[in-house]
Amino acid sequence: MLRDDSSLAEEVRQEILECDQDLRALEGAIVREMIPRDQSDDHSAVLEVRAAAGGTESSLFTSEMFAMYQKYAAYRKWGFETLSVSESELGGYKQASASVTGTGVYGRLKYEAGVHRVQRVPATETHGRLHTSTMSVAVLPQPRDIEVVLNTNDIKVDTFRAAGAGGQHVNTTDSAVRLTHKPTGIVVSIQDQRSQHQNKAKAMKLLQALIYEQQRKTAVEERDEKRRQQIGSGERSERIRTYNFPQDRVTEHRLGVTVWGVAGFMSGTDSLDNLLEQLSAHDLQENLTRLME
């Protein structure tokens, strides 16, 4: 039995509407797939914090930032292994690095790369004046072993302990190891109480990441400049964020966004995670826009 014309027309109209929706969804998916993504996004990463030259404030803030990332890694259930720490005699860290492992670590942490600025009254300040200091963060993707093939002949292994009789003559806690990658001149030192064997392994991990980063940088520089992402390029000179303690706020300069509660932010949990989510979304949007142009 034939249905009457009006209900058939209605069915067809309904189908056209649904097809339209499907079409739009598919278009969106295609566009998203076309957005150039950093292939290293799902890799683990090596995180490096560095104090600005001179000043106790900078090195103290550097160690606090390192602690923040340690807590954030725990919050995200990532692995966090300290690779090297260089203490400042005045307190805090001159430099520190860690291997952060898990899926998608680099894709998340890469937005932390750049210069972070702190504004507060330091503990040592007797007149209650506000000081401004900076520290910088670098984030390197950790290559999967197969991506960085290191020729052992290219690597010189030694120790930087003072010369003098070793072996049974000496009893120390330190079994320092230094690796020099001869072709690039990159030097990695690990000074730890662990065994020489473990220190060598840590040093190799760090060396691999540094070499990989150098290889990556060369590849990135060769790409079309117009297509380079602004956020996540990890340029060290970019001032990306200010932590203002008296006003209890954190300002993310790339987004023009202010987060309230410095302590909460630096506890490395929801607050930091939300901001990184925003940065990631913004990055995606930027790429989308650039693709459309």
């Binding site: 203490e87 070793g166 072996g167 049974q168 806690t173 065994s195």
Partner: protein
């Protein structure tokens, strides 16, 4: 976190003022390993120049924790080279065979245990003249579940080893008697018998090499830890007992000759 850092800094200053080597590193280890209530006691012991490894009861060696007491020598990083090179030799074309190894002067068992972990098919004899040392070795063997591969033996050098073996490894005492009193206070706390090699440091090495021909298979390899300046004299003794042997030196990370490798064809 700040309290911990403060404590590390204070501990560091205390240790440094007392002339403790690697003061910063040791301060970190102490504060991060020990309960706050026990810390003062630990620092007190350290200020008496008792080695940190004896205080904490262990030393990491080649990636594993080795329990140590004042009855044994605290394993040195240079000795990891013996493990490394032995494994290299063992895995080069010999991996399918059941290798027999003698670790002479095993002390804490650091070398034997690591070899056992990486060579599941090996038959290892770990021997020492000190019974208290063998107790420590026994502990480490059980702790790392390699009792099925290592047999302990008490006696002088190779005497307790029941059969001829493919590999002899030895970190025997090699310090000249007169030099011992000049060494760090920490080293003075370690057993003298584990360090004293006689007037030129080579007494035990000489006696080992004299016993070795009867206890080493053909082909067979001996790996010995020594001091750089002892190599010429030791090589001469080795050639006396093994005239056809190939003798090479492996360096430590300070680029000093540290391990003598004697390959008997």
């Amino acid at each position: 976190m700040t309290i911990v850092r403060e404590t590390i800094r204070e501990t560091h200053q205390t240790l440094e003022a007392a002339g403790i080597p690697d003061a910063r590193l040791e301060a970190e280890v102490m504060v991060m390993t020990v309960m706050p209530d026990d810390l003062a006691g630990i620092i007190g012991q350290r200020l008496e120049r008792i080695p940190l490894a004896y205080i904490l009861g262990y030393r990491e060696f080649y990636g594993i924790n080795v329990v140590v007491t004042p009855d044994v020598l605290i394993p040195r990083p240079e000795t990891e080279g013996i493990v490394e090179h032995t494994l290299f030799m063992a895995l080069m074309g010999m991996e399918t065979r059941e290798l027999s190894i003698a670790d002479v002067g095993t002390g804490s068992g650091a070398i034997a245990v690591n070899l056992a972990i990486h060579l599941p098919a090996a038959r290892i004899y770990a021997v020492d003249i000190s019974e208290p040392a063998l107790d420590v070795a026994a502990w480490n063997i059980r702790a790392h579940s390699v009792a099925d591969r290592i047999r302990l033996g008490h006696g002088d050098l190779l005497e307790p080893v029941p059969e001829s073996v493919d590999l002899i490894v030895a970190n025997l005492p090699y310090i000249p008697t007169d030099r011992i009193p000049t060494l760090q206070p920490e080293v003075q706390c370690e057993p003298g018998a584990a360090l004293d090699g006689g007037p030129d440091g080579l007494d035990l090495v000489r006696r080992l090499l004299a016993q070795a021909p009867g206890k080493l298979n053909s082909p067979g390899i001996i790996l010995l830890e020594l001091d750089p300046e002892q190599f010429p004299a030791a090589e001469a003794v080795a050639l006396q007992h093994f005239p056809d042997a190939e003798i090479t030196a492996e360096q430590d990370l300070s680029h000093r000759d540290r391990i003598m490798v004697i390959s008997r064809p």
